[in-house]
């Protein structure tokens, strides 16, 4: 029974966590390059060098002493996001929609006192949300105004597009839609919906919500499939270019679509999750293995890699 299921999964080309770690992450991602993606300040710097747009940084809080001065640095900005530079899984992120004389209004409409807010930033700096508990920096950056295309299938928050890129080739993609359960966060393990995207067309296909296949958004009730992702080719190119940018061979690229600025690189993940397979109802390993034996010329530019991927992954 167990072996039968394992065989069926292997035939379907499903990638397991052990194989992902041993054959892809350890094999393609040198440890020395991890800081480039683990620290969002570094990622942003690198991205700008490679002409990949990212959300604007207003300010980086480096030390506890800077917290008092935060108000002054913010100037007239009333809308911004505060996040830990080395955070993971969306923890520690606060989206501020407005400021009053003594409080910040978060995205969910909650008023956070100035004191509480300073405490939160202090927590970020002391490393509560950082990988490995190291001391951290807090990033204050521009709030993203999501493209209206996802408005019908989003409960608060900002949906993002995850593309798994293997040696510069985009192999699989999904869009993550926040729900009430996920508290407006676009993280699958918190209850966001993941909708698979056809690589060649940019159309959403099936979706997964807490390991269950769904067709409609649980909060808005609107269908999640058949949505055309705007700027699709541009996004695939951005994703593909992160290979040259970081040198990491197996990477999860998170992109958001801003109403004004278009697709932006939000963050990179050197250990991308496997739930994307469920969102696409398709195995990753099958696609990763297709890249083996492709002519070397394909890898020369991001354009050729994207073109190859769109052709190669047309059928499932």
């Amino acid at each position: 029974m167990i072996f039968q299921i394992a065989r069926q999964l292997r035939e379907a080309g499903v990638l397991g966590i052990n194989k992902r770690n041993a054959d892809f992450i350890m094999h393609c991602n040198p440890r020395s390059l991890f800081p480039l993606v683990d620290d969002k300040v570094l990622t942003k710097k690198l991205a700008s060098e490679h002409q990949i747009p990212t959300p604007l940084i207003y300010h980086v809080i480096e030390s506890q002493g800077d917290i008092a001065d935060l108000e002054g640095k913010l100037g007239s900005q009333n809308q911004f996001a505060v996040k830990p530079a080395r955070g993971s899984g969306g923890s520690g992120i606060v989206l501020v929609m407005d400021r009053t004389s003594n409080a910040f209004i978060t995205q969910s409409g909650e008023a956070v006192s100035r004191e509480d807010f300073a405490h939160h930033v202090s927590d970020i700096l002391s490393g509560i949300y950082s990988l490995g508990g190291l001391e951290d920096r807090a990033i204050v950056e521009a709030l993203i105004h999501p493209d209206p295309i996802f408005a019908a299938v989003t409960y608060q928050g900002v949906p993002d597009v995850r593309v798994v890129v293997y040696r510069g080739i985009p192999v699989m993609a999904m869009v993550r839609l926040p729900t009430k359960a996920s508290d407006g966060k676009a993280n699958l393990h918190r209850g966001a919906i993941g909708a698979g995207i056809e690589l060649h067309s940019g159309l959403t296909i099936t979706a997964v919500h807490q390991s269950q296949v769904v067709t409609h958004h649980p909060d808005t009730g609107k269908p999640v499939s058949g949505i055309q992702i705007p700027y699709w080719d541009g996004m695939l190119l951005m994703a593909a270019r992160t290979w040259e940018m970081t040198g990491l061979g197996y990477i999860g690229v998170d992109l958001v679509i801003d109403r004004e600025r278009g697709p932006l690189l939000l963050e990179l993940n050197a250990r991308p999750g496997l739930a994307i397979q469920m969102a696409n109802r398709s195995g990753l390993l099958k696609r990763l293995e297709r890249t083996v034996g492709t002519p070397a010329t394909i890898f020369s530019t991001a354009e050729s890699r994207v073109a190859w991927a769109k052709e190669a992954f047309k059928k499932a």
Partner: protein, 509 residues
């Protein structure tokens, strides 16, 4: 990529295999180091009365073989000389000399490990000739009487001869004149000697043995029985009752072949007694003893040579790799979550002091208190390091209160709590809180249960004494454990949990 793994793994399996076979085949180490069996303490004591010069006391001592190991033999001789005489198949202790004016005590004490299944097969004895003081006519009479059983197999023959001790000769009984003749023989030589003669006449090798039955108690004289060879083994015949004992393994011979188990050639002794008591003695002692006795290279490098207080640590340490191996299996093969990699093993180590039930209970209790306090602390907005310090302090306060309560209630387990890894407990509280906040109470409880399960399994493994002993005697077994860990590290197949997680993606054609 996988190529260099296999030779390494193979080497890690083969190297200890060579060492193991060397130890077992050449050094005669036990194949299974656990020592099943029972241990007895034998104490023989006697008082030597003063006033006689040049006394000589001979005492039969137990003899060692694979089924009967002797440990820690101790002899007290007071002002007397002591010699040990080996007179196959007996071992005789001889006290001699002139005692001081006061009464002196002599004693022999040993621990005896009985392993019935290891008792070596006895050698076939030869049928001895009749003792010289037996007359030809008496021999002829015995042979005539024994002729009636000549067609029987040894075992029933022994039983038939034994019955004659009660005057039962079977039917038809021998003629009266023979029986009367035999009565005279019995009176002349004693019933025991007559029985031995009859056994000899029936072609059954036999011998008189003095010894003890392996039951707790004190005797002032040892038992005397007759051992008769049935072609395979010695059967124990009780000359007085004419019966064959059903359980020959439960005896301890002290003097075999007609020697007395205590003989005083000159001098006077009083209050001689033999006492046996069952002992609970660790199996470690026996291996320790045997390794201490040899001078082989590997024996000299055995962990048994360490001072005992350090040996204790290594008994446990050597099993910890198995504990972490289980964690690897659970995480990489099964996909079961645990708090950290080593926490469950450290928990298991702590359970050794508190016991399993108390350990788990204390752990769960402190985790619950810690979680509630941690929730409260969140409102105080403390910085990370002072907050962790505070939780650590809370954990130690909990330990202190438990110890005091334990003392009042007389629960040692509560007082042993100080050895629980408090740092680990502090970190678990923090991680549990973060996990519950981020992924929900279900995930938090699942991980806690996973950690507890691994801790329990690890605890069972590190407390299993035969395994402790095996690794202590053969520490090279760590190499194959490492080999399995390497193999596990190269396992790139699905985890058990993934079979469930990705079940909808199966290709069912």
């Amino acid at each position: 990529m996988k190529r260099p793994i296999l030779p390494l793994v193979l080497a890690l399996f083969l190297l200890p295999l060579c060492l193991l076979s060397y130890r077992i085949v050449w050094l005669k180490y036990p194949l299974l180091p656990s020592v099943p069996g029972e241990t007895w303490q034998l104490l023989i004591k006697a008082r030597v009365q003063p006033g006689v010069k040049d006394i000589r006391i001979e005492m039969g001592f137990p003899v060692e073989h694979a089924g009967r190991m002797l440990v820690e033999e101790q002899i007290t001789s007071g002002s007397l000389n002591f010699d040990l005489l080996r007179q196959e198949p007996n071992r005789i202790g001889i006290w001699s000399g002139t005692p001081y004016l006061e009464e002196e005590e002599i004693s022999y004490r040993t621990l005896i490990l009985i392993r019935p299944q290891r008792t070596p097969k006895p050698q076939s004895p030869v049928l001895e000739i009749y003792p010289a003081n037996f007359g030809k006519e008496e021999q002829a009479l015995a042979e005539h009487l024994a002729a009636r059983w000549s067609r029987q197999k040894p075992s029933p023959r022994i039983r038939a001869v034994a019955k004659t001790a009660l005057g039962e000769w079977g039917s038809p009984p021998p003629e009266d004149r023979y029986l009367r003749g035999w009565k005279i023989v019995q009176e002349k030589y004693g019933r025991l000697k007559a029985l031995l003669m009859l056994l000899r006449a029936a072609d059954l090798p036999s011998r008189v043995v003095e010894g003890l039955r392996l039951v707790e108690g004190i005797r002032t004289t040892p038992l005397t029985w007759v051992e008769v060879w049935n072609g395979n083994k010695w059967e124990i015949l009780w000359p007085g009752a004419g019966e064959i004992d059903k359980n020959p393994a439960s005896f301890l011979p002290l003097a075999t072949g007609g020697l007395p188990s205590l003989r005083v050639t000159s001098g006077e002794i009083s209050e001689a007694h033999w006492s046996l008591s069952q002992q609970i003695i660790s199996k470690w002692k026996f291996h320790f003893e045997r390794i201490q006795r040899t001078k082989r290279f590997l024996d000299r490098w055995s962990l048994f040579r360490l001072p005992p207080e350090f040996q204790k640590t290594f008994r446990i340490l050597l099993l910890v790799p198995i504990g972490v191996l289980i964690i690897s299996v659970l995480r990489n093969l099964v996909g079961f979550p645990t708090f950290g990699i080593f926490m469950p093993v450290l928990m298991a180590l702590a359970f050794r002091n508190t016991g399993l039930a108390y350990g788990l209970g204390i752990f769960a209790g402190i985790l619950l208190i810690g979680y509630i306090v941690r929730r409260g602390l969140d409102k105080l907005r403390l910085l990370l390091v002072p907050r962790m310090a505070l939780i650590l302090t809370l954990v130690i306060i909990c330990f202190t209160v438990l110890a005091l309560v334990g003392h009042k209630l007389g629960l040692r387990e509560f007082m042993a709590v100080g050895l629980l890894p408090f740092v680990i407990l502090t970190m678990v509280i923090e991680r549990f809180y973060v996990l519950v906040e981020e992924a929900g109470i279900r995930e938090g409880l699942r991980t806690a249960a996973g950690s507890a399960a691994v801790a329990v399994i690890s605890y069972q493994i590190i407390s299993w004494e035969p395994l402790q002993l095996t690794f202590f005697i053969y520490p090279e077994l760590l190499a194959p454990i490492a080999a399995v860990q390497i193999l596990l590290g190269r396992y790139t197949g699905y985890r058990l949990s993934e079979l469930f997680r990705f079940r909808t993606l199966r290709k069912t054609s």
